[in-house]
């Protein structure tokens, strides 16, 4: 019952070609950059990636796309300060895009984690993004039916972790991370610090260990924003 692994390489080693991988973060905050880089090194291809964005610069998710590993991206906002990598791949027809409203994306992932196969939302009703989806009226208002979203793997960035996988997050780096941790068959976490069991107050656990498969300490985790300001490129 010790979920700690010593290397990122080991943590991502079982991600096969064609896997669906959720990657936490909103822009650079909460993005598990080192795990993504380990996934690049690992070499899996043909991935479907779920992330709010489409990467920035030439590190993290952008690098994964640049290396040609992503067949499909499910996201809400594939634009950013420097989304050149995704934009080029998309306009060249090399990557599919499923565009999902941000709140619907969050709720679909939460539903995947919570065993709710479908739910109704007012979001998107009457728009192109609801095309083909069932519509139902409740109490005189129209709603779109959306399906859960699950993944084979989730790559998560946490602040504190213990050996059972209990997690906390730093500030707004929380974002999609706790949701994706729930919605994947295998949830792999990079934590800035692994503390002893009991080192996280039980009331302050944000992601209980039941949602976590593996934990790796990455003490000096990079901020994607800082990498991009330094014009870093991976690999």
């Amino acid at each position: 019952m010790d979920k700690r692994l010593s290397t990122l390489a080991e943590a991502v080693s079982r991600i096969p070609d064609g896997a669906t991988v959720m990657i936490g973060g909103f822009g650079g905050s909460g993005a598990p950059v080192e795990l993504i880089h380990a996934l690049i090194d690992h070499g899996a291809r043909g991935l479907t990636v779920v992330n709010n964005n489409a990467g920035n610069g030439h590190v993290g998710l952008a690098a994964l796309i640049e290396q040609g590993r992503v067949d499909k991206l499910i996201c809400s906002f594939p634009r950013s300060a420097d989304p050149q990598v995704f934009t080029e791949a998309y306009l060249a027809g090399k990557i599919q895009l499923e565009l999902v409203p941000q709140g619907t994306l969050a709720e679909r992932i939460r539903a995947g984690g919570a065993g709710i196969p479908a739910f109704y939302t007012p979001t998107g009703f009457g728009t192109d993004l609801a095309e083909g989806k069932p519509v139902e009226e409740f109490d005189g208002r129209s709603y779109v039916r959306e399906r859960w979203l699950k993944a084979d793997f989730a790559l998560i960035k946490a602040e504190l972790a213990d050996s059972h996988g209990n997690l906390t997050y730093r500030m707004a780096a929380r974002n999609f991370n706790p949701l994706m941790a729930m919605a994947a068959e295998t949830t792999i976490v990079q934590a800035t610090r692994i503390v002893e069991l009991g080192g996280i107050d039980p009331e302050q656990v944000v992601t209980p260990g039941i949602f976590v498969s593996h934990v790796v300490e990455v003490a000096d985790a990079a901020q994607e924003e800082m990498l991009n300001r330094a014009e870093a490129v991976y690999p």
Binding site: A114, G115, I116, H164, L197, G198, P202, V205, P208, I210
Partner: protein, 229 residues
């Protein structure tokens, strides 16, 4: 045949047997009452993590009398304690764990279990005040749903039946039944006998079972520690 009351396993022995199937690191929810006894019998070297519906994971044992903190209770409203690794969360997150398939095992009691895997354990159908709690969520959430039960009712009637007569808790959800006489799997709409206590013959066991017991290879001997009798 000897009187079943004399040869049958005690509740503690049934719980002990169920505990042997819980793997190291498994996340487990134990129903209120008799199933809670399973926690006592974790095999040496294995550590299960227990979940309780009201929002606690990996809790510790009951506090000493007089030491109870009534903000720290389990689904049975009994006082529990925290230990290193405990996490608290709200009810929606708790049932996300249940419904979302994150629990490895849920172990519940039963009024009746059908060979289809249907379970009836929440209502005797006799009026009074109905109460369901989390049972209906648990039976459709955990990866494995097992039942602990006496093999027969207090009046000697079968609890393993062709079809439930009492209101259902869930449809086709149970995969293994630990009884006071046997271990029975449910596969493809059949009861498959895996183990039985040595003191009862196959015919005798079949006679107190409400549906046909199928065999699939050897039937193991169900022997529990005598000190739990």
């Amino acid at each position: 045949m000897s009187d079943i009351q004399d040869i049958k396993l005690s509740n503690a022995q049934i719980a002990w047997r169920a505990a042997q199937d819980i793997e190291d690191g498994a996340y487990v929810n134990l129903g209120i009452g008799f199933p809670e006894m399973v926690a006592r019998f974790q095999p040496e070297g294995r550590q299960a993590i227990f979940h309780t519906e009201n929002g606690v994971l990996d809790f510790g044992k009951a506090p000493e009398k007089g030491e109870e903190d009534w903000d720290c209770i389990n689904a049975g409203k009994k006082a529990i304690t925290i230990k290193p690794g405990t996490a608290f969360f709200h009810h929606a997150d708790s049932f996300a764990m249940v419904r979302g398939g994150h629990l490895d095992v849920a172990i519940l009691g039963a009024y009746e279990v059908a060979q289809s895997g249907d379970l009836a354990n929440w209502s005797t159908g006799k009026g009074g005040v109905p109460a369901v709690g989390g049972a209906m969520d648990l039976v459709h959430g955990a990866k494995r749903v097992a039942v602990l039960t006496d093999h027969v009712t207090k009046t000697g009637g079968p609890k393993l039946v062709e079809a439930c007569t009492l209101p259902l808790t869930g449809v086709g959800c149970v995969t293994r039944v630990y009884t006071s006489l046997a271990v029975v799997d449910i596969e493809d709409g059949h009861f498959v006998l895996r183990e039985k206590i040595p003191a009862i013959s196959l015919d005798e066991l079949q006679a107190v079972t409400g549906a046909r017991l199928h065999l699939d290879g050897a039937v193991g001997e169900l022997i529990a520690p005598e000190e739990l009798a």
